[in-house]
């Protein structure tokens, strides 16, 4: 996390603790959740349970990381839940075999081909969002809301509303191994979780160590200034939606293999959970602030909270109330953090004091 010099007012020790708590809030919230549920339930604190919960988190985590890229540029991607379902059923369809009637041929691609093709589809869906937002200047909310419906509709059309259940393949056809993604473990860790961490590390590197990452932060912070500094703002915007689409496709594959079924209604409202993970992780919906690590923490907070509530037997209705409250509380804390930081700087103040009136700063130079 970056260092925030809190401007001119010399703040003393007591407030610094509040600052640490504020900045590390997602982490502390996760610790608190683990402690509380471990006290309430004897089964919560066990390796087995953590691994189970983590594989649930994998899906939200993947969606959340993709969402983070979009939110960092100041956009939003409401279509990820539908993209997840579309890619899931697309993978399911490929695994059950594609028949080409004209040639009287049936085509059974192997699992890795399925995974690659599915990710390409996710990227394609994302690129449509990206083109609409970056080049046709459709507001991100509207463009991706449209895609939310279109992708869901396409998924339903593709399956006629039915679910693909035969995802395990046939050894004779050489397309087995799909459920391995969802069930098996490497070094004792579910493959889905490994995928999540692999994606997270790649994305962390991309955001913190590549020019592209810098472009994303600057586009979200001030697109006009970024453009005048030579940042290809439109290409950056296009790219983040493609990344979000690919992440949704990966999440769709993981979810389908965990459930050993791919249904067209999978992932409904998951886009909102993904946004919640990003926001709980302290990212600003205005763009420019946020990190992969904190988004992961956000996803774990949501996942561990939801599963914990299930384990101690709280009804699903109450789970929704809790989750909702956590989200709002998190955003509230975001506002406190950012407004404290903006005290000495722009945005809020800028609205009150027009840009011409920089005398305040002028006298200090």
């Amino acid at each position: 996390m970056s260092h925030y010099n809190n401007g001119s007012q010399g703040k003393k020790g007591g407030i610094d603790i509040i600052k640490i708590l504020l900045e590390g809030r997602a982490f502390f919230a996760l610790i608190a959740i683990i402690i509380v549920f471990s006290i309430l339930s004897p089964v919560y604190f066990s390796t087995g349970n953590f691994l189970t919960m983590s594989s649930h988190v994998a899906v939200f985590g993947l969606l959340g990381i993709g969402m983070l890229f979009v939110i960092l540029t100041g956009g939003i991607d409401l279509s990820v839940g539908s993209t997840l379902a579309l890619c899931g059923v697309f993978a399911g369809m490929l695994l059950e075999g594609v028949e080409i009637e004209a040639l009287n041929l049936a085509f059974f691609p192997s699992v890795w081909v399925v995974v690659v093709l599915t990710c390409l589809l996710g990227g394609l869906v994302g690129s449509i969002n990206g083109v609409l937002v970056a080049y046709f200047k459709v507001p991100a909310f509207v463009a991706t809301l449209g895609m939310l419906y279109v992708a869901r509709g396409a998924a339903l059309l593709l399956t006629d509303g039915l679910t693909f259940n035969r995802l395990s393949g046939d050894p004779a056809l050489g397309n087995t191994g799909f459920e391995w993604l969802g069930f098996n473990k490497l070094l004792g860790i579910p493959v889905g979780v490994l995928i999540l961490f692999f994606v997270a590390i790649v994305c962390m590197l991309a955001l913190s160590r590549t020019p592209f990452g810098r472009w994303i932060y600057s586009t979200g912070g001030n697109a006009r200034a970024a453009e005048l500094s030579g940042v290809p703002v439109n290409r950056v915007k296009l790219s983040v939606y493609i990344i979000s689409g690919v992440c949704a496709a990966l999440a769709g594959i993981v979810l389908a293999s965990q459930l050993t079924s791919a249904g067209p209604t999978a992932g409904t409202t998951y886009e909102l959970t993904a946004i919640a993970a990003v926001v709980i992780g302290g990212a600003s919906l205005m763009g420019g602030r946020g990190s992969v690590r904190n988004t992961l923490l956000g996803a774990f907070v949501i996942g561990f909270l939801a599963d914990g509530l299930v384990i101690i037997g709280v009804s699903a209705y109450w789970q929704m109330v809790f989750t909702g409250s956590v989200i709002v509380f998190a955003v509230m804390l975001n506002n406190i953090q950012y407004s404290a930081k903006n005290k000495s700087s722009k945005k809020l103040e800028k609205k009150q004091i027009d840009s011409k009136d920089k005398n305040s700063e002028a006298t200090a130079a």
């Binding site: 970056s2 260092h3 925030y4 010099n5 401007g7 001119s8 007012q9 590197l205 160590r209 590549t210 020019p211 990452g213 810098r214 472009w215 932060y217 600057s218 979200g220 912070g221 001030n222 006009r224 200034a225 970024a226 453009e227 005048l228 500094s229 030579g230 940042v231 290809p232 600003s284 763009g287 420019g288 602030r289 930081k341 903006n342 005290k343 000495s344 700087s345 722009k346 945005k347 103040e349 800028k350 009150q352 004091i353 027009d354 840009s355 011409k356 009136d357 920089k358 005398n359 305040s360 700063e361 002028a362 006298t363 200090a364 130079a365």
Partner: protein, 516 residues
């Protein structure tokens, strides 16, 4: 409201309606206004003079309740008043008309005048006919026969201004604060506005007026308040003042902004603008840059002077690649660059420091260091990954080169003063090793010390072979470091001068009336 006759007016028989008593304003550690004292008299025009960043707008905002003062009193008709919002001030008859008008262009004149205070019938529905009647009355009073049902977007800016005034009058305003009301008006519209102002005076309305056009303001002002760096340097009635008096108090002791760098040979033509036209987004068949040609040599400093709306910003933005030209060529080292985008032009050494650093220059969410390195990320990228040690070195040398006062590259950009923020934008673009360095109003909103430092940087750059083009709206800057002063007016170059030119010549060429 009744006034107690505690008028302190010495210079005029008119009674004082509003006074500022030791008003101070601080933004954090920054003192924006210090001990400001002056009176506003009933039915007279009080003008605030001062350079950019002198505190005029802050003072206006305090008087109109937009922001509260840190210390001191506002006395309205003998009573201390305290505004917590603009509506508090309006309730007491003080209205501000901002430079950017606050009308809803989609609504008509009537609806704009009564926006937020709609007259209702007993039934609760809006009484449109009564509103229209009153609106018509107001417009007639102002001698501007605009039909109340005309959509505001169909009106010229000058007429819109009058609608704003009508709205203020409909609120029974007795004090009208006008922030640069003439900046977007044509000469005839200014005449109309001044007629309205004189009319308002005769009705007992007091006006507080801000303008950058000194001569223009002198035509109607009755009292002058001059601010410099947040301090009130002078306050006097019209009969005691003239143009020189104002300038003297505005600028203070003359500050040396330097002279054109000498003692070296200028190089070849680095930037050549040929017959450039940029069309106006808002008006068809109008050009904001109209068939403009300009050559700049390596090592030369060219200053473009012009009034607001002369097309300076549009010219520079087009050359930098943000806006496409409709005709003409831009040659960089005799190579056509028109088809390149901004990034490609930066790579080839053509950079722009934009006018509005908050909007176009800085990324507020990033640190000082990241802002400085933003335009030259490739310089510290190895094998696709950014190198933090290379970046730190680059940031440190940039901070050092342009003398930014900061705790280091990790500091938040918002912790810097305006002058240092400007240096960050300049440092960012200098870090790309440009050949042609364009700056749009680089001195805007920074104090005179920072301004001198910026100009020194530009001279040093020119000495090292940089071609520098900067714009300004302050004549004094034209007479400092530039080798050549180009005056722009209505999208064209109206005159070109060498360093020996006088202020009056420059102002005359820009279309500014130098009426005495």
């Amino acid at each position: 409201m009744y006034n107690n006759q505690k008028s302190t007016a010495k210079t005029t028989s008119r009674e004082v309606i509003l006074s500022a008593r030791n008003v101070e304003k601080r933004f954090g550690a920054v003192q924006a206004l210090k001990e400001v004292n002056f009176d506003i008299h009933r039915g007279l025009v009080t003008t605030l003079f001062g350079e950019n960043g002198a505190g005029k707008s802050t003072l206006m905002k305090i008087l109109s309740g937009v922001i509260p003062q840190t210390a001191g009193d506002i006395v309205l008709e003998g009573k201390n008043v305290c505004f917590s919002s603009p509506s508090d001030a309006e309730a007491l008859g003080i209205t501000i008309i901002h430079q950017e008008l606050s009308l809803a262009p989609n609504l008509n004149v009537r609806d704009n005048i009564f926006m937020g205070r709609e007259l209702t019938k007993v039934s609760g529905s809006v009484d449109y006919s009564e509103e229209a009647r009153q609106a018509e009355l107001l417009m007639k009073e102002l001698d501007e026969p605009i039909h109340p049902l005309t959509p505001v977007e169909d009106l010229r800016v000058g007429q819109q201004q009058i609608v704003e005034i009508a709205r203020a009058l409909s609120k029974k305003s007795r004090i009208l604060i006008m922030d640069e009301p003439t900046s977007a008006l044509s000469a005839s519209e200014v005449e109309t506005l001044f007629k309205v102002v004189r009319d308002l005076k005769s009705k007992g309305v007091s006006i507080v007026y801000i303008s950058h056009h000194l001569e223009e303001a002198l035509q109607i002002t009755d009292h002058a308040v001059v601010l410099r760096d947040g301090v009130m340097t002078a306050y006097a009635p019209r009969c005691e003042i003239d143009l020189q008096w104002i300038v003297r108090h505005m600028v203070g002791e003359s500050f040396d902004l330097g002279s054109p760098p000498e003692g070296y040979e200028q190089g070849d033509i680095a930037l050549s603008i040929q017959h450039l036209c940029v069309s106006d987004d808002n008006v068809a068949d109008r050009y904001v840059v109209d068939d403009l040609s300009l050559d700049v040599r390596a090592g030369e400093i060219v200053c473009i002077y012009g009034l607001m709306g002369a097309g300076r910003t549009e010219l520079l933005e087009c050359v930098a690649g943000r806006v496409r030209q409709s005709e003409g060529k831009i040659l960089l080292q005799s190579q056509e660059v028109s088809h390149y985008n901004i990034a490609q032009r930066i790579e080839r050494g053509l950079v722009l420091v934009p006018e509005d650093r908050q909007r176009d220059g800085l990324v507020a969410t990033m640190t000082v260091g990241r802002n400085l390195s933003l335009a030259s990320i490739n310089a510290f990228t190895r094998k696709g990954l950014t190198s933090s040690s290379l970046e730190e070195g680059m940031v440190a040398s940039a901070i050092n080169k342009v003398h930014i006062k900061t705790d280091g590259g990790e500091a938040e950009i918002g912790s810097l003063s305006g002058g240092n923020q400007q240096k960050v934008v300049i440092g960012k673009m200098l870090a790309t090793n440009p050949d042609v360095f364009m700056l749009d109003e680089p001195s805007r909103g920074i104090d005179i010390g920072a301004k001198a430092e910026v100009f020194k940087l530009l001279s040093e750059g020119a000495r090292e072979g940089l071609a520098v083009v900067f714009t300004t709206s302050e004549v004094s800057e034209c007479l400092s470091i530039p080798h050549r002063v180009v005056v722009m007016s209505k999208g064209r170059i109206s005159a070109e001068f060498g360093p020996g030119v006088s202020k009056e010549e420059i102002m005359a060429a820009s279309g500014e009336s130098v009426a005495a």
